[in-house]
């Protein structure tokens, strides 16, 4: 299973879990569903937008990870907010941020990227979804690394950059 994971590029919804009572890290991937997701989003950007159930799926109450992973805390692990800025502008800001902070961009797609820095302690994935003709949802998630690192970098550095008009 791990060989297959290494040869495949990392999906955006990868999740690093610190297991209870054990310090080994494991990656979990939504293999097939992630692929379907990417295909839908990249192929039909103009017509695809989030529907009510996509938004409802964001709820922390529908994420049962906390049952299995003591260190998982959905509040600290990511955030979503609405923006009126064009996704291209949003992505540009994120790319510039990565450059300034000397973060390595691990994966890029049209409206999303995953970056890593501080020797692997910081891992952030950012994705932009269309909501309506004028509104977009920006989603920032901790895709690995240290939770404290993510929280600090997101709140104090990246979020203000993205939200600045």
């Amino acid at each position: 299973m791990f060989d297959a994971l290494q040869s495949r590029s990392i999906g955006f919804n990868s999740h690093i879990a610190i297991k209870k009572g054990n310090h080994k890290e494991i990656n979990f991937y939504d293999e097939e569903l992630n692929k379907a997701d990417d295909e839908k989003k990249d192929g039909e950007l103009a017509s695809t937008s989030l529907n009510a159930f996509d938004i409802i799926s964001f709820s922390s109450g529908l994420n049962l990870s906390g049952l299995f992973d003591d260190s998982y805390n959905s509040v600290d692990d990511g955030e979503r907010f609405v923006s009126t800025e064009s996704p291209e502008n949003l992505m540009k800001k994120v790319e510039e941020f990565a450059k300034e902070e000397r973060l390595r961009v691990k994966r890029r797609k049209e409206l999303g990227l995953e970056m890593e820095g501080q020797n692997g302690n910081l891992m952030i994935s950012v994705e932009v979804y269309r909501l309506t003709d004028t509104l977009f949802v920006v989603e920032a998630k901790r895709s690995g690394g240290d939770a404290g690192c993510f929280k600090e970098t997101w709140k104090n550095k990246l979020k203000p950059v993205i939200m600045a008009t």
């Binding site: 297991k19 159930f53 938004i55 109450g61 979503r80």
Partner: protein
């Protein structure tokens, strides 16, 4: 059955033989035993009665026993198969089974439909979707104008409510989900593939050995 089984049955009401549970779910016997380790920890966290209460569920999920959430409530209600207000071990295993990566698409579609059918009418009504959408907006940093909420609802129903009766029935939901497979992402927990390593159950606890002896 050895004395271990009757001791467990007394301490954990609703505890079912792991071999029986394994045969009726996607879990192996050792995976059921691993789930039992997890269950023991969750069910004793507030009151040590061998059952998972709503508070204990909230504590496990949010690390906060007082945190109320519409969707977590729905999950709890669906896990509480016998409607007793608590989740027993058999409920726990059978419900988590639906979230197994190998569980059938049909079971996942079925569970998700029931999840969103808040008042159990057999339909997901527009008002229910609106209620859930607003609940989500309250828990997140996302702010939307009322008008935008209506636009999103309109779009969703245009797509899902094929017979235009203002509600989504089971077959419309199946159809909708097949066209939007990412909606079922919440119905799969990859943690379940690795459960025996995350929650090791030591051999001398194993009921399987009792039966073999």
């Amino acid at each position: 059955m050895g004395c271990f089984s009757s001791k467990v049955a007394r301490q954990f009401p609703g505890h079912e033989d792991p071999v029986a549970l394994a045969s009726q779910t996607a879990f192996s016997v050792s995976e059921v035993e691993a789930l039992f380790e997890l269950y023991k920890s969750i069910s004793s966290s507030v009151v040590d009665d061998g059952l998972i209460s709503k508070e204990e569920f909230q504590l496990a999920l949010f690390k906060n026993r007082k945190k109320e959430n519409l969707f977590a409530n729905r999950i709890f209600e669906l896990f509480d198969v016998k409607h007793k207000g608590v989740i027993d071990f058999s409920d726990f295993v059978r419900s988590l089974n639906v979230f197994h990566p190998n569980a059938s698409l049909e079971d996942k579609i079925d569970f998700s439909f029931k999840l969103y059918d808040l008042d159990n009418t057999g339909f997901i009504e527009r008002q229910e979707v609106k209620q859930m959408l607003i609940a989500l907006l309250c828990e997140s940093e996302m702010k939307l104008a009322d008008e935008t909420v209506e636009i999103i609802l309109d779009k969703t129903f245009l797509d899902a409510d094929v017979n235009r009766d203002g509600k989504i029935d089971k077959s419309e939901w199946e159809n909708f989900v097949c066209r939007n497979p990412s909606l079922l992402k919440i119905m799969t927990l990859h943690y379940l593939r690795d459960i025996t390593t995350t929650f090791p159950s030591f051999v001398f606890n194993s009921e399987v050995d009792e039966i073999a002896a």
